[in-house]
Assembly symmetry: C2
Homo-oligomer: 221 residues x 2
């Protein structure tokens, strides 16, 4: 508003709306607690591929639960062989089982395995992605596709989404403060009934922003 | 300006200033061309340490010139041994010689070498940083300090600094667009008479923002 001018009707209405809105929400709880986690490279596995890698009917063993309810790091690991016969051993499996096997790598991992390019994708969106050879104790799976760099995403419950005013698939921004302050601009909103507010980034992103030392986080539209 | 109100005197003055400024600068060249480079881990070496590693009076051999005039990647490499006897071989030396030896690592490198923490520093600001053992073909140097993660920085000439309205030591922002769009908030301005506009980031930062695929760059205050 320019100094010395009388506010217009629309400006007055805007101010009234803000005041009323603040009063209405005065008893509402504060912003939800924000967790930010780095996901190291890992594999989600289908029933069929687990059978081939570990034997028919094999069940994953929980090593530790993850922040999202029901998800866990399994004790089981596999060996991943990339396009130029380079390999990563001890690739961790995350449970529970999925309908399709999917391998999530940081770009550093992809380069070290010899991939020229690994696309940034949301989980489950695997069409046209590169494949890999996976070795387990009982067999080998030749994946035709399924290797991705996971797009940064924020898990949240419907009420947390409502707090931020976002819907499934929206993009938000995450600012991480500190000596290597960074704002990530494409954080995909993933809403689940059982989800807890939690931003997942890969190890490259975590290393770039100094996540382990960072103390300031802000998630916003 | 609110719709339907007459512009105030200060608004009119502001508009006139913008128009006049645009006319005055109409013949000025466009914004300087912005280069963004990823620096892989490397070592800058002092005369004294080069003597110990490669023999007295040894001179570095140019492998390829770098973007900043006078700087080059040398053919010579060393082996770097971290705090837990883990090592990185073929660590490239960059020339010319410096007054103090300095090793620049990405955080991923630091972790793989067994460092708990490597501080983010501007080049040359080495007090209190961790040390390392460096092996060359003719001898070993035990660095007491000198291992850093280089703070992201923008080299520029005085006239480029003037274009952006920044001075030595200012912080700027770099936005990298694309599927992993990121804004880095702490890009240190380093002005040199012979410098060319060029942002240097480490390989973690480059991998996090997908630098190799990125097409949009903006440097701003």
């Amino acid at each position: 508003m320019a100094t010395g001018t009388v506010p217009s009707r629309s400006q007055v209405e805007g101010i009234v709306r803000q005041v009323v809105s603040a009063r209405l929400h005065g008893t509402r709880p504060g912003p939800p607690a924000l967790a930010v986690h780095a996901s190291a490279r890992h594999m989600h596995v289908s029933r069929e591929d687990l059978d081939r890698l570990f034997g028919p009917g094999y069940e994953l063993t929980v090593d530790r639960p993850l922040h999202q309810p029901g998800n866990f790091a399994a004790k089981e690991t596999v060996t991943l062989i990339g396009p130029r016969s380079r390999l990563i051993s001890n690739l961790r499996i995350l449970g529970p089982l999925r309908s399709r096997t999917q391998i999530e790598l940081a770009f550093t991992d992809a380069v070290s395995l010899g991939y020229d390019d690994v696309p940034i994708r949301l989980s489950g969106n695997l069409d046209g992605t590169p494949g890999a050879l996976v070795m387990g104790p009982k067999g080998v799976v030749e994946l035709q596709e399924g290797v991705i760099r996971a797009a940064m995403h924020a898990h949240m419950s419907p009420s947390e989404a409502s707090h931020y005013g976002v819907k499934q698939g929206d993009l938000m921004r995450l600012r991480v403060g500190g000596d290597a302050a960074v704002t990530f601009e494409r954080v995909h909103v993933r809403i689940g009934e059982e989800s807890r507010l939690d931003v997942h980034m890969d190890t490259d992103e975590a290393n770039a922003c100094g996540l382990a030392q960072a103390r300031e986080f802000a998630l916003f539209k």
